[in-house]
């Protein structure tokens, strides 16, 4: 008697779980476009897909993460129509695949406006974030400790920064970790000893953007490829695309698609 009561109590949450699983799996109809790849590109493609599907409800676009390399692999085996990558392809890869830059992503290195420093080199930046340089005096600033501010492990900006600047060196454990571009900026705004990196779209006069390797973080410099802290967002394909995939591809490169990316803080394709 008592046991049966326990069972009936358990059934409700279990059934609910199943119902959720079923609804999650039942969205595949028709010829859909599969896009797999970089988890940094994923949120942007999801946004693009969302507005694309709003205008073309008959289409079906399915976006997954997994990493740039996994995306290439999925394109190679035909599991994905389009792969996304947040790094340039290697020489061997570009022989197998066709790729197109759909947008550029730039990081600005920011300090407090009271900081006399106006430029930094990639190597200095690396030493600052790995903890080798710990005082602003070494870089020609005032005598005060440097407080680097980084992002949480897994964030696109952090991955971006690590691959463009750190060259395999770990980011110092002493670095303060914030969970958004906005929080980094807020901290740099208030702390004359802080240095952080934020997405280009977040730049404002409340913080000072440093020249990196003598180049300013401007849209123009990023499009020309002069600014070091830039990475491309690529769409990668192999052979002929299906008509559905081609339509989505063209939408992303269209003015409307590019405007969406720009609004989200990316730089238009050059």
């Amino acid at each position: 008697m008592y046991r049966s009561k326990i069972n009936s109590a358990l059934i409700v949450p279990v059934l609910l779980c199943f119902a959720l699983l079923l609804t999650a799996c039942s969205s595949q109809t028709g010829e859909s476009v599969h896009i797999v790849g970089s988890s940094s590109v994923q949120p942007f493609v999801e946004l693009l897909a969302e507005s694309y599907l709003k205008n073309n409800p008959e289409e079906n676009v399915d976006v997954q993460g997994g990493g740039s390399t996994a995306g290439l692999q999925a394109v190679r085996t035909g599991l994905a129509n389009i792969g996304t990558s947040s790094r340039m392809l290697t020489a061997a890869e570009s022989e197998t695949f066709d790729s197109a830059v759909v947008a550029l992503d730039g990081l600005a290195v920011v300090v407090n406006p009271a900081n006399p420093l106006s430029k930094i080199t990639s190597a200095e930046l690396r030493d600052v974030f790995s903890g080798k340089i710990a005082n602003w005096e070494v870089l020609g600033g005032d005598d005060r400790p440097i407080r680097p501010i980084t992002r949480e492990a897994g964030s696109g900006s952090r991955d971006n920064f690590a691959s463009l600047v750190m060259e395999g060196n770990p980011i110092s454990r002493r670095a303060i970790t914030q969970e958004s571009n906005g929080a980094v900026k807020e901290l740099v705004k208030g702390d004359p000893a802080a240095i952080g990196y934020i997405s280009l779209s977040m730049l404002s006069h409340e913080v000072k953007a440093l020249l990196v390797d003598e180049e300013a973080p401007t849209i123009e410099n990023i499009q020309k490829g002069h600014y070091a802290l830039t990475r491309p967002f690529l769409f990668v394909t192999k052979g002929d695309m299906s008509p559905e995939a081609r339509r989505f591809f063209e939408y992303v490169l269209s003015d409307e698609g590019q405007a969406i990316l720009e609004e989200e803080g990316l730089v238009r394709k050059p």
Partner: protein, 286 residues
Amino acid sequence: MRQEKLIALILQAVALSALAGLLLITVFIFKEGLPLILRTGLKDFFFSSDWEPDAGHFGIMSMIIGSLAVTLGAMLIGGTLGLGMAIVLTQFCPPKLASFLKPTIELLAGIPSVVYGFMGVVTLVPLIRSYLGGPGLSVLAASIVLGIMVLPTVTSISIDALKAVPRTYWEGSVALGATRWQTTHMLMLKAARSGIVAAIILGMGRALGETMAVIMVAGNALEIPGSVLDPVRTLTSNIALEMGYASGEHREALFAAGVTLFAVIMIFNTIALTFARRTIRQGRGQ
């Protein structure tokens, strides 16, 4: 009669489903987290500060120390203030004022933690940074914010404990010529001791589990803090910071951090319950 039975059955089912929820959560956390702890090895998991999920290093010592440091700081601040508040409200305060002050303090529990965090970031952190030094985001900032957040818990449970002391104790003491303060610290606090300990331990559980406010004011650096002005990362904030992106072993490691928290909070609650029961038994013994 049949209707009554049916209602009883439904109520039982509802009560048990709450329990089933707890059971599901427990089983799930342990199933996800425990294998990684065993694979990494107890020593490398609990006694290493090497947290580099990408490189497969999952040492959570600095975060355990961070959690404990912040909780201890919160209890030094919130425990002292809360207990003081409870003493004033039960022993030294006109009943009318007390009936206004107590709900006001309890109102603090209703403020969302993100509001506490935000207040900490915009007011407390800059103050600490300019007057005490360091980045401002620190053990101290987190302790103060958490100390205020645990105030309602500590205060209201301590008040209940002090009120549960039989009136005759108090009357006896005053009749013997003891002053109010002598009565309070020599008698009331001792008689209510176990309830007060329970209040403090429940407050600790709250401080240990708080996440949002801590992420905002603690700085989340992975280094073991050398002073109260250094930034610190707690177990909860680490889980919340990295959960969004984690997959595979990294995700398991976050669950393993959850297992650790779960165990610590269970220990706290068990101790608190034991003390609370002891109070009741003592009360009944009279």
